[in-house]
Subunit: 467 residues, 3 copies
C-alpha cells in the first residue's frame, strides 16, 4: 500500500543531475520511515469515533483555512465556502475550489492538495472546472469505504506517533479511547496547550482560571494555586502519554519575578485590573514557571510566538478564529528569552523547542541560541514557512551555525489529516536535497549524509520529543 503514497520520483529534488541522483538516494533511504508528528491539530475525536469523513469539501476545503483564505483573498465569499457555519452545498464548494485551482499554483497548499489527491485517491487529472465533478465523485466514493476511515488512513499513512493539541481542562477521554483501541497501532497522545489560561489581560481570565482550578481540583485563589493547577493538569496529560506542552504568544517575552511581585500581578489580573504591559510581564513569568515545571516533569516545552491573531475583527466576529487572518509579527528571542534561559537554559533534561514565522531569526537568534544552550532546539519551519523553498532557507540559515543535531525534526501543524504524509514527504525531500548539495560541494561525505538524513527524519524527533 505504501507505494500509493509515493510522490513523483524527482519531486522537490534539485535539477542538477548529479545532485538529484544523490538526493534521490538519500530520500529513498527514509521515504518509508514511520511518520513522527509531534505537533498538529488533528482532533482526537476523529480517531476516537473513527466515523467516516463527511464529504470531500468538508474534509479538504472547509476546515483548511490555508485553502479558504486564498480563495477569499481572490474574491470568493467565505460564506460560499461554508465558513462560519454557513450552509453550502459541498459539491458547490468543491466546484468553486477546483475552478479556481490556478490560484494555488506554486503555493504549499496547492502542492499538498495535488499530491494528496494523487497519492491518497489516485487522482492524476489537475483540478479544474472540468474535473470538479469527477474528482468530487471519486473522493466521495472512497470516503464511503472502510479504507478511508480515520484509523485505516492513520495506519496506511505510516504514522507512528501523532500528538494532538488539547485544552488543559480536557478530560482526554478521546485519547483513552484511542489508546484502548486494538486497531490503532500508532501512538496518539495529547499536548498540553494552556494559552487561554495564560492571558492575564483577557476579560474572562478569572473565569478561565476558575475553570482550570476546578478541572484540577485545586482550592485557593493565589498564584501558587494557579501554578499547582497547571501541575496537576500536566500530570493528567502525562498520564495519557503527553510528552510536551505548547505555547503560542504574540511576543515571547519572559520574566522571572519575585514571588511577591508575581502574586501581586496575578491578584490584579484576577480582579480585572491589570494593564497590558503588566499582563505581558505576568505572562512572561508564567512562561518561566512553565519551563520550571518542564524541568520537573520532563514535558518538552514548545514555543510558537509572533503572530497577531484575528487581524480583521469583522471577519473574526462573523466567522470565528482560524479563518485565515492570523498575520506574523517581527519577533525577538535573544533578549526576550533571556530571563527564562538564564534560569533553565542549561537545566538537565529540559527541552525548549523554538518556532518562528519570522525567518530573520533563524540565523540571527535561534541557531546561535540552539548552538549554545543544551535545552534549546531549533523547531522546524512552521505555518507559512513549512513549504519547499522556506524549508531550504531554514536549513541554509540554521545548519552552518547549529548543525543538524540541534534541530527538532519536522512538524506538520495541521488539521488537514489527509495532507500529513505529503507534508512529511516534502520535508524529507527538501532535507535530502539540502544534504545532497552539501555532499556535492564537498562539505560532508556520503556516509555522513546517509547518517544525517536518517537522524533528522527519525532520531532527532524521537530524542527531542522524548518519544
Amino acid at each position: 500500500m505504501a507505494t500509493m503514497l509515493r510522490t513523483g520520483a524527482h519531486a522537490l529534488l534539485p535539477s542538477d543531475p548529479e545532485t538529484r541522483a544523490l538526493a534521490g538516494e538519500l530520500y529513498e533511504s527514509v521515504a518509508e520511515a514511520p511518520i513522527v508528528s509531534p505537533h498538529g491539530h488533528v482532533p482526537a475525536a476523529w480517531l476516537a469515533s473513527d466515523a467516516p469523513f463527511r464529504d470531500p469539501a468538508d474534509l479538504l476545503v472547509v476546515h483548511d483555512h490555508y485553502v479558504t483564505r486564498l480563495l477569499y483573498a481572490n474574491g470568493i465569499p467565505l460564506e460560499s465556502l461554508g465558513q462560519g457555519g454557513a450552509a453550502a452545498d459541498p459539491r458547490e464548494i468543491w466546484r468553486v475550489t477546483a475552478s479556481n485551482w490556478h490560484l494555488f499554483a506554486g503555493t504549499a497548499s496547492g502542492y499538498w492538495m495535488t499530491e494528496t489527491l494523487r497519492t491518497v485517491f489516485g487522482i492524476d487529472a489537475p483540478l479544474s472546472a472540468a474535473t470538479a465533478d469527477s474528482t468530487y465523485d471519486t473522493i466521495a466514493a472512497a470516503l464511503a469505504t472502510p479504507d478511508f476511515q480515520p484509523r485505516a488512513l492513520l495506519s496506511r499513512f505510516g504514522i507512528g506517533f501523532l500528538a494532538t493539541t488539547d485544552d488543559p481542562c480536557d478530560d482526554l477521554a478521546d485519547h483513552a479511547t484511542i489508546a484502548a483501541a486494538t486497531d490503532v497501532d500508532a501512538r496518539v497522545v495529547p499536548t498540553y496547550r494552556p494559552d487561554k489560561y495564560m492571558e492575564p489581560a483577557a476579560a474572562d481570565f478569572p473565569e478561565r482560571v476558575a475553570a482550570l482550578l476546578d478541572a484540577a481540583g485545586v482550592a485557593g485563589e493565589g498564584f501558587q494555586s494557579y501554578l499547582e493547577a497547571h501541575r496537576v493538569r500536566r500530570a493528567h496529560f502525562a498520564a495519557h502519554g503527553a510528552t510536551a506542552t505548547d505555547h503560542g504568544v504574540d511576543v515571547p517575552f519572559t520574566a522571572d519575578l519575585s514571588p511577591a511581585r508575581a502574586e501581586e500581578l496575578f491578584a490584579r489580573a484576577m480582579r480585572g485590573e491589570i494593564d497590558a504591559d503588566d499582563a505581558v510581564v505576568l505572562r512572561g513569568h508564567i512562561l518561566t514557571r512553565m519551563a520550571e515545571m518542564s524541568v520537573d516533569d520532563g514535558l518538552v516545552m514548545m514555543l510558537h510566538p509572533g503572530v497577531r491573531r484575528n487581524h480583521h475583527t469583522a471577519t473574526y466576529e462573523r466567522f470565528g478564529p482560524d479563518t485565515g487572518h492570523d498575520i506574523p509579527l517581527r519577533t525577538e528571542y535573544t533578549d526576550n528569552l533571556r530571563p527564562l534561559l538564564e534560569r533553565f537554559g542549561t537545566a538537565e533534561g529540559f527541552h525548549l523547542v523554538l518556532f518562528t514565522v519570522d525567518e530573520t531569526v533563524f540565523s540571527r537568534e535561534i541557531a546561535p541560541l540552539a548552538g549554545f544552550y543544551p535545552a534549546v532546539y531549533a523547531g522546524a519551519p512552521w505555518w507559512f514557512l513549512d513549504a519547499p523553498d522556506a524549508i531550504d532557507r531554514y536549513r541554509a540559515a540554521v545548519t552552518e551555525t547549529a548543525g543538524f543535531y540541534k534541530t527538532a525534526g519536522f512538524i506538520d501543524d495541521t488539521r488537514a489529516f489527509l495532507s500529513i504524509p505529503v507534508r512529511h514527504d516534502t520535508a524529507r525531500r527538501r532535507d535530502a536535497a539540502f544534504i545532497a548539495r552539501l555532499v556535492s560541494e564537498g562539505r560532508i561525505d556520503h556516509g555522513t549524509a546517509m547518517r544525517v538524513i536518517a537522524d533528522v527524519t527519525t532520531t532527532m524527533p524521537t530524542k527531542v520529543w522524548k518519544l
Copy 2:
C-alpha cells in the same frame, strides 16, 4: 525592430540545461508582450514635447541617480557628474563613467546599461576608457535622428501602458497633449502622488495645503475641506486617465480617528503646532481617508514606505533630493496597516498594492496579508530590490504563501526611460526562471507554468491596476 531589443538567449536564465530550456520556452512566450508600466518617473513633458534627448550623458548618467551615486561612492565628485546644476562637459561625464564601468559589475544598473546600449544602440563593446569616445559618438549620432525621439522609442519599446507620477496640483496639460497626439499609441496616464500635502509636521504644510485647496477650487479651512480638495484633484486625475494614487512614507502607520480628533490635529498642523508623533497619527489618518476615497472613486492605492529620504543633509542642501542617499528603513506592516485594513481591507473593488525595500516583510507580512485581504496585492520588488537575485528572493518568499495571483506585476519605477525595456525583460526572465524551477521540481505542471507566466506578465497588472 523588436529583435533589436532582445537580450542574450540565455541571459538571466538558470544554468541547469533542462531548467534553462524550459525557462527559455516560458520567456519566449511573453518576451514580446506589450510593456505595462503602472509606476514610474518618466516626465510627461518628454513625451508631450517629443524633443530629442540632449546628449548621452544627460540621458543615461546625469539623471540616473543609481549611476551617479555609485560613482560618487567610489570617489568621483558629484559636481563632475553634472549634479546640482554643475556645469560639466557631457563627453567628460561619459568618459569618467565609462572609465569606471567595472564599479558596476554585478549591479542592476550595470546590467541595465550594458543591455540598453546593446539593444537600443547596437553597442556590443564593453564600456571602458578605451570605448568611451566611440560609444559616446554612436549614441549622440543616434539621438540626433527621429528614431530616437521619445515617442518613437515609446513605440519601438512596445510600451502599451505608461503611468507617470505627478503632483496633485499639476494641471496635467502634458498628459492632455500626449492623449491628443496621433503618433502615440501607448496609453500614458498620470498618477496622483500627494506625499508633500500629507506631511503635517513640514514647516510649509499650511502653504502646501493652501495650494491644494486653490488648485481644487475648494474653500474653507478645516480637515473636511482638505479632504474635499483631494477628492476634486483625484477626479481631475481620473479624468486624465489616472488609475492609481501613490504614497511614499517613512513609516506606514495608519489610523482611523474620530472626526473631531482629526479636525483638532489638522488645525494644530495648520498652525504649525503639531509635534512629530501627532503628525504621524494625522498622516496615518489621512492615509486611511485616501483608502476610503479609493473605495469611492476606484483609484488603486500604492504604498511605497520605509525610506529615510536625504540621509546626508549637506548633499541634500547642495545637490537636492534624489541624489542617491535615500536609505531604506526596517518596516512593519502587520500592526501599522491594521487600522486601514480593518476598515477597507475587504471593501469591494479596493486595491492596495504594498511595496517594500525591507525584504524581510515579503514572507512575514506582505504575503500573509495578500493571502487573506481581497484588497491587498504584493507589489513587485522595488528600488534597490528590482534586480535579478532580489526578484528571485521575492518570488520564493511570496509564492508559497500567496501564489502568483495576489502579486501585482512588475514596475520599473524609473526616470531612465531607455532602460524600461531591459528592466521589464529582466523581470520576465527571472519570473520564467522561477516558474521553470517549480516545474522542474514537480511543483506545477507545464500547462500551469505557461498560464502563470502570461498572467504575471500581462493579466495581473491589467487587473490589479484596472487598465
Copy 3:
C-alpha cells in the same frame, strides 16, 4: 608546499558543470594569492615567542569556542573540554570531540576542521571515535617539529598581512619583537580596540579611563583629556603598523553632542552616576569622535555591532567571556549611524567598514549606505555568517546595489590560527562561485569576472585597509 593546503578540486563550487568549470577557473586564478587578514584574534605573543603549540586539543578545541559551544549544546560539560581553567587530559578532550564529530556535519566549524586536518596535517580519515587516537598522535607528532611552530606556519600558509586585535594600553612589545624578527616575512600589525574604555555605564569605567590616561601619559580629568589619551595611544598603534581601529557595541547608536553636553555626560560617568540611556548617548558621541580621529590619523574604522555578550550569566561567571553564548541582536544602521555619517561620511580618506550578524541589513541598509557614502564599505559576513551559504547570501544581497568595489574583502576574525587558510579559501571559492553564476547568467563577461575575483581577493582589502 602550497599544494598541501589545497582543498578538493570541486569543494564549495556549484554543481552545474558549466558554472563549476568557470568557477574553478576563477578560483584557480586567486587560489594561491597571499592571504590578507585585516581582522582577527591570533595572539601576537604566539608569533613573538614562536613557542610550539602545546597539544592538539589546546590548539584545535580548547580555545575555539565555536567548537566547544556546539559540543556543550549537545550535552558535553564545558569542564570536560578544559574550559574555565578546568584540568582535562588533552587526549580525552580530543576523544570526546572526535567521537561526537557528526554534530558538526554541515557547520562551518566542521568544514574548517576537516579541511585543516587534511591540508595541514595530511589527515584524510574522518574524525570519529575510531580515529581519535591516531589523529591525535599524528597532530601531536607534527606539533613537535619546527615546521609546525607559529612562524613556520605563518609562512607556509602564505599569510602576507595579519592584523591582531589589541588593548589600547598594550605596549605592543610583542609586535615590536615580530617586526624585528628576520624569519617573519608577513606584515603583522596591531589593531586599536578600545571597547572597554568606551562603556560609560560599566562599574569600572573610571578605573579604565584612569588606566588609559596613564598609558598615554595624559593629565587632566575631563572629556578632552580622555580624547587626547585615545589620540596618543592611536599614534602609538600607528607607529607599530596599525592601520585600523575596531569597535564592538551592542547598538551602533552614534551621536554628535555639543562639547558642553559631552563634558557633562562624561563627568557623570566618571562619578558612576550615568544611567543606561545616557551611557549609550555618550558612547555614541565617542564613536563619532573616533571617526573624527580616523579622519585625522587615517586609521580605518571597523564597526562590529549587534551582539548580546555573555547571554548566560552563570556560564560567564564560571567560565569567563568568549565561551559561546554571545548571541546576535537585531540591528539598525540607517538612523543609528546617521549622526556620524552626517559629519564624516563624505570626509576625504575616511574608511568605515560595517559588519553585521543581522543578515537583514545587507540589502536594506549596508549596501545602500556603501552605495552612496564614499567612506562606507560593506564588511565581509562575520562571525556566525562567515560560512559558505551565508557568504552566498551576502554577495547576493550586497552586489546588486553596491557592486564588488564597495566591499572590504574577507576577514577571518579568528583565534583558530590553523583554520586561517581554509577560511580564506572558503571565501575565495564562494566568491568564485558567485561570480561564475553572474557570467553564466549573462550578467558580466568573462574578462570582468577575472578582474573582479582578483580585486575582491587582493585589491579591495589592500585599498580599504590601507595596506
